[in-house]
């Protein structure tokens, strides 16, 4: 069994997950503020809609509720998720 928590950047395109913990300390305060204002916070249910161009994995488009939000991989990797 995998005990290490999964982070949002590892969720496959088209899959959903619930944010369980956010390592805000890893993010710039202004960016943390903006992510929270857009509803990317503990408890949010998100889906990975699009990912990168030309085979890269950056940036990532997330669906949160009825909104589509583009973030960088660094932001997604600071978010622990429950992929169920």
């Amino acid at each position: 069994m995998d005990l290490a928590p999964t982070t949002l950047d590892r969720i496959a395109r088209g899959k959903r997950a619930t944010i369980t913990r956010v390592h805000w300390e890893d993010l710039a305060p202004e960016e943390a503020k903006r992510l929270r204002a857009l509803g990317l916070d503990v408890g949010a249910r998100v889906a990975v809609a699009h990912r990168g161009v030309f085979g890269t994995s950056d940036p990532i488009a997330l669906m949160v509720g009825r909104m589509t939000i583009a973030v960088r991989k660094v932001h997604a990797s600071a978010m622990e998720v429950d992929p169920s």
Binding site: L27, A28, R34, R36, A37, L38, G39, V53, A70
Partner: protein, 617 residues
């Protein structure tokens, strides 16, 4: 007389605030700047049922009053009454996107908490219904404690009700002049409450927005998205040149006809020469570029209004990241192709200060439309018109290379800056991708009219003044018989002094002369060359020859190429420097910008000249 009452539109970005603002105020709007900051102050007038009129402000979109970007900061200050020179609004209208109600209610609660009379406009209810979402406005009003008016700005639905509600709220403010703040919630509390309020107000909801997902599936596709964007950009630049030609030719013919009429109708005197050689040759040569500018702005406005601009930023983000910027910088940089001033002003949405500064510093490297006249006239004069491959003409190729040189220059400069003067942590990219929307024609028309007006105002003021001053400097003192008017004039004497600086890079005296007024506005270089040659021509037939032929006859190819290279990096116009000063709060960065651009322009013009001479061109 009592002071003018003010109502302000607030809301998340993409709530449809501007469309609502246009629908409420029509063409009765004024764009200026807030005192001390360059954030655009969009204000208009609306008539209340009582016959009174009040001022309506359209504030920059915000996700919360906890500001992260300069334009959100303006919204916070205006609403709180903290901005000097701007009265606190008497009534707030919080605009909610019905289709994204859960998110928009978070900020709505923060606005309502202030205790200022507030009305909620539940906007774009039609799109929400198309997406399978029906909302109960009364339930929302009950939960929020403020009137909720369903509106469809683009179809003018709910506008009368909204105006009535504004009038009622205004009365309320008169009776209770001081806002009574309501208990403060924390962000998680507001988010929780927003979820519950939305759930209670949603009458029916179907799963998802298939249309948007389908489009995003193509436009954000990892392999299809970028080529689609590049094709679009290519089409835009093609359109700017090809589509504008008939209109530009028409304008040019019009200017010549007027000039010929003036020449034949009035006796030759000081004023006739001022009009034909100064005004018509100078201002006229700039006004003919209006069609190009309108076409470029039309594309930019459509990209913004449809929601595609944010997708373009997404697609470009990876590329921008490699030079230390983010996709957010793409939008200001694309606008800078029209003009660096709106481009630099658009950087306000970039939250990271280092990111924003870098974008401001490289914005002048994007080939703005003011450089177009310079490029077009010189290319037409010295580059032969021939096909070098099917569909690829030599002139078009040179034009493309000039644009490319600006972009490559910007990339390299950004790389260097991000490692030196604007070094900092890697910038992030966090951006809402709004829903796709069909743009409304009248909103586009208003936007285009405003851009065209700004351009014509420049032509009528700065360019006009610069041309007339230059014409006077060129005309006096009068040359003796056998002496060239250019050499004898004050302008010729001035340029003779600075000429040694430009000799090594192949510039002739008329070019050096053109550079000075070009600081006022780059396109003046063209009008000043036109005026110079018009004054310098001894006989009438020579004066009537187009500027193109004059350049072709007088300039060598290396000289012309060096002039083009100079304008790729050219020290920008004074307005750009002024905007950069306001946006960076001081002279340090604008001076840095001017310095590095001068150095680049000089070096590249010199390189171009000597390489061309060496190659025997």
């Amino acid at each position: 007389m009592t002071r003018t009452r003010t109502a302000a539109l607030v809301g998340n970005p993409n709530a449809g605030k501007s469309a609502l603002f246009n629908a409420l105020t029509g063409a009765r709007q004024k764009i200026a700047n807030y005192p001390g900051v360059t954030v655009e102050r969009k204000a208009g007038r609306i008539s209340l049922p009582s016959g009174e009129s009040i001022e309506l402000l359209d504030l920059p979109g915000s996700y919360s009053f906890d500001a992260t970007s300069p334009d959100e900061e303006v919204t916070r200050k205006v609403v709180m009454g903290d901005l000097d020179g701007q009265d606190q609004p008497d009534v707030l209208i919080i605009v909610l996107d019905a289709a994204n109600i859960e998110q928009h209610l978070v900020f709505a609660q923060e606005v309502i908490e202030l205790g200022i009379p507030t009305i909620a406009a539940l906007n774009m209810v039609d799109l929400a219904e198309r997406d399978g979402l029906t909302l109960d406005a009364d339930a929302l009003a009950g939960a929020l404690g403020v009137p909720v008016i369903p509106t469809v700005a683009v179809r003018r639905k709910g506008l009368a009700q909204l105006t009535e509600a504004i009038a009622d709220a205004e009365k309320q403010r008169e009776e209770h002049p001081n806002p009574e703040p309501k208990p403060h919630l924390t962000l998680p509390e507001r988010r929780l409450a927003a979820g519950n309020i939305a759930k209670a107000a949603i009458l029916s909801e179907t799963a998802e927005r298939r249309f948007h997902h389908g489009l995003d599936g193509v436009l954000l596709h990892p392999w299809l998205g970028p080529p689609i964007l590049f094709v679009l950009l290519f089409v835009i630049f093609q359109a700017v040149f090809a589509w504008a030609t008939p209109f530009a030719d028409g304008l040019e013919a019009g200017v010549s006809a007027i000039s010929a009429w003036v020449s034949s109708t009035f006796p030759q005197n000081f004023f006739r020469d001022l009009i034909t050689e100064g005004l018509l040759a100078g201002v006229g040569s700039v006004v003919v570029f209006l069609p190009q500018i309108i076409i470029l702005f039309a594309f930019i406005l459509v990209m913004e209004a449809t929601g595609y601009m944010a997708r373009a930023a997404f697609v470009m983000d990876r590329l921008m990241a490699s030079v230390g910027l983010s996709g957010r910088s793409f939008i200001p940089l694309l606008s800078s192709f029209a003009c660096a001033i709106p481009g630099i002003m658009a950087t306000r949405s970039i939250a990271d200060p280092k990111d924003r500064l870098t974008t401001i510093l490289i914005a002048p490297l994007m080939t703005c439309s003011a450089r177009l006249p310079v490029y077009l006239i010189i290319i037409a004069a010295v580059i032969p018109e021939r096909q070098i491959a099917p569909l690829i003409g030599l002139q078009g190729l040179v034009m493309f290379l000039l644009y490319l040189a600006g972009i490559v220059g910007a990339v390299l400069v950004a790389l260097v800056l991000r490692r030196t003067v604007t070094a900092g942590r890697a910038s992030g990219f966090i951006m809402e991708l709004p829903r796709y929307q069909l743009p409304r024609l009248s909103d586009l028309a208003i936007g285009l009219w405003q851009r065209a007006w700004v351009f014509l105002r420049r032509a009528g003021t700065i360019i006009f003044a610069a041309t007339v001053v230059l014409w006077l400097l060129l005309t006096f003192p009068k040359a003796d018989i056998g002496e060239s008017q250019l050499d004898a004039s004050y302008a010729g004497q001035i340029s003779a002094v600075v000429q040694p600086v430009f000799d090594p890079i192949g510039f002739n005296q008329e070019m050096t002369l053109a550079l000075v007024p070009a600081m006022a506005a780059r396109e003046v270089a063209v009008s000043s060359l036109a005026t110079t040659y018009a004054v310098d021509s001894d006989d009438e037939s020579e004066a009537e020859e187009a500027l193109k032929e004059q350049i072709a006859a007088r300039w060598s190819l290396p000289t012309a190429l060096a002039f083009l290279a100079w304008f790729v990096f050219a020290p920008q116009c004074i307005s750009t420097i002024a905007v950069a000063r306001r946006e960076t709060n001081g002279w340090k960065w604008p001076m840095f910008m001017v310095g590095y651009l001068f150095a680049l322009a000089y070096v590249f013009a010199g390189l171009t000249y000597w390489v061309a001479v060496w190659a025997g061109l």
